[in-house]
């Protein structure tokens, strides 16, 4: 099963405004342990590291990097946005080593 989530349009910056979206992803992660969680970024033009950390970094902190990378896929993100997300995931993952 694939659960699809869309992030809002624009240049996403606010850590606080990222929280409700992360809570939706948290629910998706905890509802079952097999479905794929697909996050569609087709409307996202840029993403600050604060927003990316609040959304994706905290998921890594809560569920672990391997679980997040196994189950969550990101679609329609340009290379720069994806690199931002990878940076925060890497930072949260390595900060536990």
């Amino acid at each position: 099963m694939i659960k699809v989530f869309n992030l809002p349009y624009g240049d996403l910056a606010s850590r606080t405004l990222a929280v409700p979206f992360r809570q939706m992803l948290e629910t998706a992660f905890t509802e079952d342990d097999f479905s794929t969680i697909q996050v569609d970024l087709k409307d996202v033009q840029s993403i600050s590291e604060s927003y990316a950390d609040e959304l994706f970094g905290i998921l890594v902190k809560e569920f672990g990097v391997e679980t997040v990378l196994d189950r969550m896929k990101i679609t329609n993100a340009d290379d720069y946005v994806l690199e931002s997300i990878a940076s925060v995931i890497d930072r949260r993952a390595t900060s536990f080593c």
């Binding site: 240049d11 996403l12 850590r15 809570q23 840029s46 600050s48 604060s50 927003y51 950390d53 896929k73």
Partner: protein, 327 residues
């Protein structure tokens, strides 16, 4: 061209406290000057009838939205160059509007850079986002931001500066740090502390309970803070925003003026840092920076090979490309 530094030294305008009036000098102004001016007018409640400028300046200020944002005076201006050479003066009125303000400015910057993409431009978008987020999470007051493009002298129009500036009338770094019980004595030390990667007055203390600031998870509706700001429901700040700004300035040979209280940090295009002590304190934070387009186009990769390899694996796995390597 008058810049933020000039504004802070009361150069470029006359403020008559007795009449609460401002008269602009006949000059041109950077976004750093204009955002500080807007925040100053807002803080001092200078009425529109007491704001004086030459016709050409007034016309420009109306066009960038000064009158609309500061005095709610509607206009029917056809802003044909909006996004080509300037962004509108963009207010940051509430927590819920951070992303909207950020999108407005970054959309304009996209136009200013002719939709070019590069690592430097993408980094600029990210830093502009961090700074917008910082204004609300630290300033908790109205701020203004603005972007503009100008020609680099002696390049026959071949190269341009991209300016970005933001000013708020919030607590300022020193008061914010002192409220967080971080012992810093003066404004310059506060700047030095805040621009270090990993330093943030919002960093969670070791003994801070994860649940103390948490809103109910089933909360629905719009702005959870009702427009009055407040703490981030769950505090995950990492103290990266200003550090990333400084890194961007150094990597892409940008120029920076950053002021809070009586301290002004200036970084020139060679990376030389200078602190100035101002006679007139700025209550809040004001930041002005500019980059040459020719520098933003450069590709600067400073990751170690190990970092790059890990990131590559993460990106491939996020894309769903089969990659069995773990991190």
């Amino acid at each position: 061209m008058k810049c933020l530094n000039d504004f802070l030294n009361l150069d470029g305008f006359i403020f008559e406290k007795e009449y609460n009036s401002i008269s602009l000098d006949p000059d041109h102004f950077t976004p750093g000057f204009l955002t500080a001016l807007a925040a100053f007018i807002k803080t001092n409640n200078v009425p529109e009838k007491e704001f004086h400028a030459f016709d050409e300046q007034m016309s420009y200020l109306r066009t960038v939205g000064f009158h609309k944002e500061l005095w709610q005076i509607g206009d029917n201006i056809n802003r044909v160059n909006c996004g080509r050479t300037y962004s509108p003066l963009t207010p940051l009125k509430s927590l819920g509007e951070v992303d909207l303000a950020n999108t407005t400015i970054n959309n304009c910057i996209r136009e200013l850079v002719n939709q070019e993409k590069s690592e430097g431009i993408a980094s600029l978008f990210r830093v502009v986002g961090e700074l917008h987020d910082n204004v609300w999470s630290h300033g908790k007051s109205t701020g203004f931001s603005m972007a503009q493009r100008t020609r680099v002298p002696n390049t026959s129009g071949a190269d341009h500066y991209i300016h970005f500036a933001l000013a708020d009338s919030g607590l300022g770094f020193l008061e914010e740090l002192n409220r967080a019980k971080i012992e810093i004595k003066d404004h310059q030390s506060a700047i030095e502390w805040c621009i270090q990667e990993g330093n943030s007055s919002k960093l969670k203390k070791n003994n801070e309970d994860d649940w103390t600031q948490r809103l109910p998870e089933d909360l629905i509706g719009g702005d959870p803070m009702m427009g009055f700001g407040g703490e981030v429901p769950e505090n995950n700040h990492q103290g990266l925003g200003l550090a990333h700004l400084i890194k961007l300035i150094i990597d892409y040979k940008g120029e920076l003026q950053l002021c809070t209280g009586n301290a002004l940090l200036i970084i020139d295009s060679l990376g030389k840092r200078t602190y100035k002590i101002l006679k007139n304190e700025w209550k809040g934070v004001a930041i002005s920076c500019r980059f040459k387009m020719s520098e933003l186009r450069q590709s600067i990769k400073k990751n170690t090979l190990e970092d790059s390899a890990r990131k590559h694996i993460i990106i491939e796995r996020l894309r769903g490309v089969k990659n069995d390597q773990s991190i």
